[in-house]
């Protein structure tokens, strides 16, 4: 069974300041320029942004495990792997990671819809565009963050195998 510590590693919770800080700074800027500040809406915004970021972290790990990027970063002596490597080590399955992603993206969608209804529709196109860009970076059909791997690449590093993803 996957414990809380493993989930925290899977989501890379140490990246949280990177998403909380700009949202907080944006709220402070709006407050300083005379807009009303509501803690409740600020909390909903933070929860939505964090869910989107952590979900994208989890989705990226699945895609990197499937492509072999994680494994190659671990065997390259001149590299430092920045992902937790939980799928490769068998601590989490790709299916569990994808379920986590779906749950977090679901939370983000709920927050976005609530904010759009209560505070203004502009949040919806921005949120949808962000989510699509994050998703299609790793995932078909567009998968713009990757190109097709060449035979020479596989022969150089050996073809990675990923039992957790098969």
């Amino acid at each position: 069974m996957t414990n809380a510590h493993t989930v925290a590693r899977a989501l890379r919770t140490r990246t949280l300041p990177m998403i909380v800080a700009p949202v907080a700074a944006g709220a402070a800027l709006a407050y300083a320029h005379g807009f009303d500040f509501a803690w409740s809406w600020f909390a909903v915004t933070i929860v939505g942004a964090v869910a989107l970021q952590l979900g994208s972290n989890a989705l990226g790990d699945v895609a990197d495990a499937r492509s072999g990027a994680d494994k190659l970063a671990r065997v390259d002596r001149g590299a430092i792997a920045t992902d937790p490597g939980l799928i490769e080590s068998g601590q989490m399955s790709a299916r569990e990671m994808l379920s986590l992603t779906a749950a977090l993206y679901g939370v983000a969608v709920v927050c976005g819809v609530v904010l759009a209804i209560a505070r203004g529709w502009l949040v919806l196109p921005l949120g949808v565009a962000g989510a699509l860009l994050a998703w299609q970076y790793w995932w078909p059909p567009v998968k713009y963050g990757y190109r097709k791997r060449s035979v020479s690449t596989r022969s150089r590093y050996g073809r990675p195998s990923f039992p957790a993803c098969s």
Partner: protein
């Protein structure tokens, strides 16, 4: 924060490229990647200064410019020798500067109103 994500790709750009992952650093290589990081960081501090000049942020937000010192030192070290340890130090310095700068902006704005 975008420059932090960009810098983090320096740590494994060769393996990314080998796996077919087209991060900007994997496309352009570490040297050009570091030039982009340097230009980007410079732009961040220039824009911050311009924003203060146009009264978007209060003048004491400029205290955040002090965070450029460790970042510049780490960047120079990584540019001289782009071994992964130097890139890791640059990532740490950039992340620390990003969080400190954002905190400085946020706090100065709260006391400005």
């Amino acid at each position: 924060m975008s420059v932090v994500l960009f810098t983090h790709d320096l740590l494994h750009y060769r393996s990314d490229k080998a796996a077919g992952k087209l991060t900007p650093v994997a496309r352009w290589g570490d040297e050009f990647g570091l030039i982009v990081v340097g230009g980007w960081l410079t732009l961040v501090y220039v824009v911050l200064t311009v924003e203060v000049a146009f009264k978007v942020f209060p003048v004491w937000t400029l205290a955040a410019v002090a965070t450029a010192i460790p970042v510049a030192a780490s960047w120079a070290r990584a540019f001289r020798d782009s071994i992964v340890q130097n890139c890791l130090n640059l990532l740490g310095a950039t992340l620390g500067a990003a969080v400190l700068t954002t905190m400085t902006i946020g706090l100065s704005l709260l006391f400005w109103r």
